[in-house]
C-alpha cells in the first residue's frame, strides 16, 4: 500500500473515532435510534406482508425475492449514507457560508475530507437490519451465497457508491452558483423507495429514469438479480455507461464549482 493511502486511512480512522464519540454522547438518542431501526424492521416486514396479501408476485418476483431486494437495498443505502452522502450535502451549506476554506487549506484531497469528515454511526443499526432481512430472504429462498455472489454484490455496492456519490456531488456543486440547495438532498432520499422494486417493474419511461438516468436499481434490484441469476447483459451494460457518465459529470461540476468559489459569507 502506498504511504499516501495509509495516511488517508489513518485520517479516516481518526475522523470516524471522533464522530462516534460525539454521537454516543447522547445516550437517549442512541437508544431511540436503535429502537427506530427495530421498528424499521417491523415496517418492512409489514409492507412485504401487505404486498403479498394483495398479490402473489410483484413484477414476477416472489415474497422472498422481494425481501432480498429490500435487504440488499437497505445495506447499500446505510453503508453509502454512513460513509459519504450525508457529508456531501454539507458542501452546499459550507460553500455559501464561506466555510470551505477550512477544508481547502488542508494538505489532503478536499473532496476526501469533506465526504468523510462525519461518520454517521447510527446507520449501523440500518446495516444490521438489512443483513437480517437478507438472511431471512436467503433462508426463505433456500439459497446460500457463493464467494462469487459476495464479490459481485461488493462490486455492485462499489458501483452504487461511486454513481450516487457523483450524482449528489453534481447537484450539490450547483450551490456554488445557486446558493444553499442542501435540502434538495432529500429528493434523493424520497426517491430511494423506488430502489426496492425489481428490475422488471420498470418499463418504458420509468425504465429510462430509474435504470439509466438515475440508476436507483443499483441499490437492491441489481445485486438481487445477480444472486437470483435474473439479470440481462444489456441492463448491466446500460448501468456501467451511466456510472461512467455520472463520474465525468460529477467531477466536472465539482471542479467548475470550486473554481467559482469566492469564500464569501459569514
Amino acid at each position: 500500500m502506498k504511504p499516501s493511502a495509509i495516511k488517508y486511512l489513518k485520517i479516516y480512522w481518526r475522523l470516524t473515532k471522533l464522530s462516534v464519540m460525539s454521537q454516543i454522547e447522547y445516550r437517549f438518542n442512541f437508544f431511540t435510534e436503535g429502537f427506530a431501526s427495530f421498528l424499521d424492521l417491523i415496517l418492512y416486514l409489514a409492507f412485504i406482508e401487505i404486498i403479498f396479501n394483495a398479490s402473489s408476485t410483484v413484477a414476477g418476483y416472489t415474497r422472498f425475492e422481494i425481501m432480498l431486494i429490500y435487504g440488499l437495498s437497505i445495506i447499500a443505502r446505510s453503508l453509502t449514507n454512513r460513509l459519504f452522502f450525508t457529508n456531501l450535502r454539507e458542501i452546499s451549506m459550507m460553500a455559501n457560508r464561506g466555510e470551505l476554506d477550512h477544508f481547502l487549506t488542508k494538505p489532503i484531497s478536499t473532496l476526501f475530507l469533506i465526504s468523510t469528515h462525519k461518520f454517521s454511526f447510527f446507520t449501523f443499526f440500518d446495516t444490521l437490519l438489512g443483513v437480517i432481512l437478507t438472511a431471512l430472504a436467503l433462508r426463505g429462498l433456500e439459497l446460500s451465497l457463493s464467494v462469487s455472489d459476495i464479490l459481485l454484490i461488493a462490486v455492485s455496492l462499489i458501483l452504487t457508491a461511486i454513481t450516487f456519490f457523483h450524482v449528489i456531488l453534481s447537484f450539490m456543486s450547483f450551490s456554488f452558483w445557486l446558493g444553499d440547495i442542501n435540502h434538495s438532498y432529500w429528493i434523493y432520499t424520497a426517491l430511494h423507495g423506488i430502489s426496492r422494486l425489481p428490475i422488471t417493474a420498470f418499463q418504458g419511461f420509468s425504465r429510462f429514469i430509474f435504470q439509466t438516468l438515475l440508476p436507483f436499481i443499483l441499490f437492491g434490484a441489481v445485486p438481487a438479480a445477480i444472486v437470483l441469476d435474473r439479470i440481462e447483459a444489456s441492463t448491466l451494460l446500460g448501468i456501467l455507461l451511466s456510472v461512467l457518465v455520472w463520474i465525468i459529470v460529477g467531477q466536472f461540476m465539482w471542479r467548475k464549482g470550486l473554481a467559482s468559489y469566492s469564500s464569501s459569507g459569514g
Partner: protein
C-alpha cells in the same frame, strides 16, 4: 390574537421570498407520494382489488396523503428543539408572546405556501396516474371528514409540541424524530391504508393516536367506514386530543422550570 396572525402572515411572506428552497421541500413530499403510488401500480398491475380497496383507491390514498400533509402536517418539533438546544429560547421567553409561537406559526405559513405552490404537482400526479385513480366524491363524506381534518391537525400539533419539549431533557432529538416518523409510517397510515395492514398493527392503530392525524380523515373521505366505526373513531380522536393536551401543558411548564441556557 393579532400578533399571532401577523407572525403567520410574516411566515407566508418569508416562504414566498425564499420560494425556491420551499418548493424543493414540496417536491420532496410529492416524490414520496409518487414513489408509493408507483409502487402500488406495480403491485396491483393485474389486480382489481386489494383487500377491501379497489387498486385505484389505494393510489388515490397517496394523493390524499400528499394533500392532507399541507393541511394537517408540518413538522415543528425540530425547530423547537433547535431553539432549546442553541439557547434561542432564552430571548423568546422575554417576549410578550408564546415562546414557541414563531416555530409553530412558521410551519403553518409553510403549509399554506405548500398548498398553493403544490397545486401544479397535484395536477401532475393526477395526469400521471389518471388511468389508475379512483376518487368517489360524496358530499356526505366531505362533510364528515372536515371535523376529522381539524382535529387531526390539533392532534398532530400536540404530538409535535410534546416532542419539541422533550429536548429540554435529552438535548438531542434526532433519534426521537426518526422514531416518530416510523411510528407514523406503521400506525399512522403513511405506509399504506390502515385496513390493508396486518391485523395486529390494525388493532394497535385503532388504539394509538397516530392514525387519527391523517389516515382517519382520509378513511372517512374515501367512505370506508360504517356509521358505528365513525362514531367510535371520533370518540377516540377526542379522547386522545384531551390526553395529549393535558400532557403537553404539563411537559411545557415542567420543561420551562428545567430549562437552562449557558454559553454566549
Amino acid at each position: 390574537m393579532r400578533k399571532y396572525l401577523h407572525l403567520y402572515k410574516m411566515s407566508i411572506q418569508d416562504h414566498f421570498s425564499d420560494a425556491g428552497k420551499t418548493f424543493v421541500w414540496i417536491l420532496v413530499g410529492a416524490a414520496e407520494s409518487f414513489v408509493m403510488a408507483f409502487t402500488w401500480l406495480v403491485i396491483t398491475k393485474n389486480q382489481a382489488k386489494v383487500g377491501d380497496f379497489n387498486s385505484g383507491e389505494v393510489i388515490a390514498y397517496y394523493l390524499f396523503l400528499f394533500i392532507t400533509w399541507y393541511i394537517i402536517g408540518g413538522v415543528f418539533h425540530q425547530i423547537m428543539g433547535d431553539q432549546i438546544k442553541t439557547g434561542q429560547l432564552s430571548s423568546l421567553l422575554i417576549k410578550p408572546i408564546f415562546p414557541y409561537a414563531k416555530a409553530i406559526l412558521g410551519e403553518q405559513g409553510w403549509k399554506t405556501f405548500g398548498l398553493i405552490t403544490g397545486l401544479p404537482l397535484l395536477v401532475l400526479f393526477i395526469l400521471v396516474f389518471n388511468q389508475h385513480l379512483e376518487i368517489n366524491l360524496s358530499w356526505q363524506n366531505v362533510l364528515f371528514c372536515l371535523p376529522a381534518v381539524v382535529m387531526g391537525a390539533v392532534l398532530f400539533g400536540l404530538v409535535e409540541f410534546i416532542l419539541g419539549n422533550i429536548v429540554i431533557w435529552t438535548q438531542n432529538n434526532s433519534g426521537l424524530h426518526n422514531l416518530n416518523d416510523l411510528v407514523y409510517m406503521i400506525f399512522g397510515g403513511y405506509l399504506a391504508p390502515i385496513a390493508l395492514l396486518p391485523p395486529v398493527i390494525q388493532s394497535l392503530s385503532n388504539i394509538l393516536p397516530f392514525r387519527y392525524a391523517f389516515a382517519w380523515a382520509i378513511d372517512i373521505f374515501q367512505g370506508h367506514l360504517s356509521s358505528q366505526q365513525l362514531v367510535s373513531g371520533y370518540i377516540v380522536q377526542i379522547i386522545w386530543i384531551i390526553i395529549l393536551f393535558i400532557f403537553a401543558r404539563w411537559i411545557y411548564t415542567k420543561g420551562l422550570r428545567q430549562y437552562e441556557a449557558f454559553g454566549n
